[in-house]
């Protein structure tokens, strides 16, 4: 039985977008079953065509960061998302946050599943590793 790795993302900035994708793809590459739960502002990251920015005032430098990553051959957020999906990483949207933020299921990326805290906590309860990304 594969070990479970759960992550919770509650912020919607660029770094919070990349982190679960990088760790998630790595864990999936190592045979772990990965589940990522997006809530509050993290939900923005699950929207189709999400373009996350660096946090706070640094958002003005997002373009520079993206450019630097490209130079270093680091995959973009979209590319990492694609890799993550290919490796079976599962994405979940918090139902309550969706109502709070006015986000509909049709706004979400393909494959994202809507569920509530109970369902997620049930997964996390017997996970080998659960991380709060931010």
């Amino acid at each position: 039985m594969a070990e479970k790795f759960c992550m919770v993302v509650s912020e919607g900035s660029f770094d919070k977008a990349m982190m679960p994708l990088m760790m998630g793809t790595t864990a999936a590459s190592m045979g772990m079953e990965v589940h990522v739960f997006y809530t509050f502002f993290g939900l923005k990251l699950l929207k189709k065509n999400a373009k996350p920015k660096l946090p706070g005032m640094m958002r003005l430098f997002t373009g520079m960061m993206v450019g630097k990553m490209k130079k270093l051959n680091i995959p973009s957020v979209d590319e990492m998302m694609k890799q993550a999906k290919e490796l079976g990483v599962k994405f979940y949207a918090c139902s309550t946050s969706m109502s709070m933020m006015g986000i509909k299921e049709s706004d979400l990326i393909d494959g994202a599943k809507v569920l509530g805290a109970s369902a997620f906590l049930n997964m996390a309860a017997d996970a080998k590793l659960t991380l709060f990304i931010g």
Binding site: M30, N73, E86, L87
Partner: protein, 87 residues
């Protein structure tokens, strides 16, 4: 020279496939490694080439987690070659 494939540390390791991840940084070498391994058969040997600073620790960790065998590692300057025998 064909090395005997059951002895770790032999000079020349027989390999069934090569995966070159030079230029890629963590986690991509491991992501590509996992994908490549899915295409291969049990008992085959994969040569993984990497120049990522993290690879030195990442590859053995991956092998240990996934129960694949790291036969040997060669280091040439900043480039590592890992020989992995698939379970």
């Amino acid at each position: 020279m064909h090395g005997s494939d059951n002895t770790a540390g032999e000079m020349s390791v027989e390999k069934n496939a090569t995966l070159d991840t030079k230029g890629l940084m963590c986690p991509m070498p491991i992501v590509h490694l996992a994908k490549k391994v899915k295409e291969m058969k049990s008992g085959q040997v994969l040569e993984l080439i990497a120049d990522d600073a993290g690879a030195k620790e990442d590859v053995p960790a991956w092998c240990s987690r996934t129960a694949n065998t790291l036969l040997s590692v060669e280091e040439e300057g900043k480039v590592w070659k890992f020989y992995i025998k698939l379970k």
